[in-house]
Every structure is written in structure tokens, then in C-alpha cells.
């Protein structure tokens, strides 16, 4: 540890920051994210039914998911 403090520090900083230093894709680079196969749910109707059942079982609704797809347009 004490023999290579700088190397240790560098490794530690990189490990701690993780992917935070990487740039997320810019809005015009989201072509792959916008593809249908990149959605969490394959079938919108099926997803709606599942959500409806979940809402009624939980007696609570809302708070699921966010607006917009991957393209950042909405």
C-alpha cells in the first residue's frame, strides 16, 4: 500500500468514479436506444394489462415508469 501510493490512488479514483466520468449518449446518438427491441416491454397491451392487475392488487396506482422512449424526444 505504502510502496505505490500514486498507483493505488489512481486505481481507487477510477474504481470509485466508475462510469460517472463517461459521457452518456447525446440526444442525436440515441438511435439504438430508440429501437423497439430496446424497450422494457415488448407488447404495450400486455404491459398495460399487467400494470392494471398490479395496480388493483396493490390498491395503488401511478409512479411506474417515465414518459418518453430512449430517443429523448418527448
Amino acid at each position: 500500500m505504502n510502496r505505490h501510493p500514486l498507483e493505488m490512488l489512481l486505481a481507487l479514483t477510477l474504481a470509485l468514479t466508475g462510469c460517472a466520468t463517461l459521457q452518456p449518449p447525446r440526444p442525436w446518438e440515441k438511435d439504438r436506444l430508440a429501437r423497439p427491441e430496446m424497450q422494457f416491454e415488448a407488447d404495450p397491451l400486455d404491459a398495460k394489462l399487467t400494470q392494471h392487475i398490479y395496480d388493483s392488487k396493490e390498491a395503488a396506482t401511478g409512479g411506474n415508469g417515465v414518459g418518453g422512449g430512449g430517443c429523448g424526444c418527448n
Partner: protein, 168 residues
């Protein structure tokens, strides 16, 4: 000795993380960043050559759903105001040209379409979402920035285009 070095190293890391965030966006009142891009038939369109005309710069991609809805409206604007001094430039940001061409087959564009597959132009404008549009007046100043294509903004944009054309 080691301590000072460590401090410098950490400061460097932090700076690196912050630098990515400090990118100025193109806003209303600022000069529109210049660009010179090629059309499908090999021609070049430069923003600087359009001084004196009102320019509507639109950034679009084949994978962007609202862009599809914006094309008929832009055709309409082009048809209505082109001879009065409006130029519509649709900047395509697709990485693959074939995707853009396929989009254009089902969505006719009766206005200028240019291609930027490297993303330099949207970078210069710091586009925040797709589609994004910039209305540029005859002096090359940005007078309106639209994020997304919304039906309830159509009228307001057209009004702006009309007033810019009459005060040109």
C-alpha cells in the same frame, strides 16, 4: 511530497468530470453556429450563404417518431413562405445514410435535407432532444429554439416566421 501529488491528481480527476458538463447551448439572441453540409445530390448548403433569408434549421433522425409528424408541416411552411424568403434546412443526424433515405421514401421532404453523420452540427448547437429546431433571422441570429415537435407550437412558429419575413 506525495500528498501534494495526490491533491493534484484528485483535482485533475474532478476537473475531467466537470469539463464534460460545461457546454454552452445555443440560445435565443445568439448567433447561429455556422455549418456547411452536403445534400443527397452532392451539393453543399452553408448557413452563411443564407444571410438575408429567414432560416428554419431542423435536426431530425429516422428513428425519431415526432420528426415524422414534423415533415408535412415543414413542407407546408416551405410551400407557403419559400418565395417570400424562408429556407428550411433539415439536418439529418443518422449514422447510416440508408436509414435516412428509407425515412425520406415514406416522408417526402420538399425542402433542403443535409446530412451530418458525425454529429458536429448538433454538437455545435448543443441539441437537447430530437427533434430540435432553430429559427434564424436574416442577420443570422437565433430567434427561437424549439425542443420537440408539438402541434400547439405550430401556430406560434408560423407567426414568428411571418413577422420575421415582413421585417426583413
Amino acid at each position: 511530497m506525495h500528498n501534494r501529488f495526490a491533491a493534484v491528481a484528485v483535482a485533475g480527476m474532478v476537473t475531467l468530470m466537470l469539463v464534460a458538463e460545461v457546454v454552452g447551448a445555443t440560445e435565443v439572441g445568439e448567433p447561429a453556429p455556422p455549418f456547411s453540409l452536403t445534400t443527397a445530390d452532392g451539393g453543399t448548403i452553408a448557413l452563411a450563404d443564407l444571410r438575408g433569408r429567414v432560416v428554419y434549421v431542423d435536426f431530425w433522425a429516422s428513428w425519431c417518431a415526432p420528426c415524422r409528424r414534423s415533415f408535412p408541416w415543414m413542407n407546408e411552411m416551405q410551400q407557403r413562405y419559400a418565395d417570400r424568403g424562408l429556407t428550411i434546412i433539415a439536418v439529418n443526424v443518422d449514422r447510416r445514410r440508408a436509414d435516412a433515405e428509407q425515412f425520406l421514401q415514406s416522408n417526402t421532404a420538399r425542402f433542403a435535407v443535409v446530412y451530418d453523420d458525425r454529429g458536429a452540427t448538433p454538437e455545435a448547437y448543443s441539441v437537447k432532444g430530437m427533434p430540435s429546431s432553430y429559427l434564424v433571422d436574416a442577420r443570422g441570429t437565433v430567434v427561437d429554439v424549439e425542443l420537440g415537435f408539438r402541434d400547439d407550437r405550430k401556430g406560434a412558429i408560423e407567426d414568428q416566421i411571418r413577422s420575421l419575413l415582413s421585417s426583413r
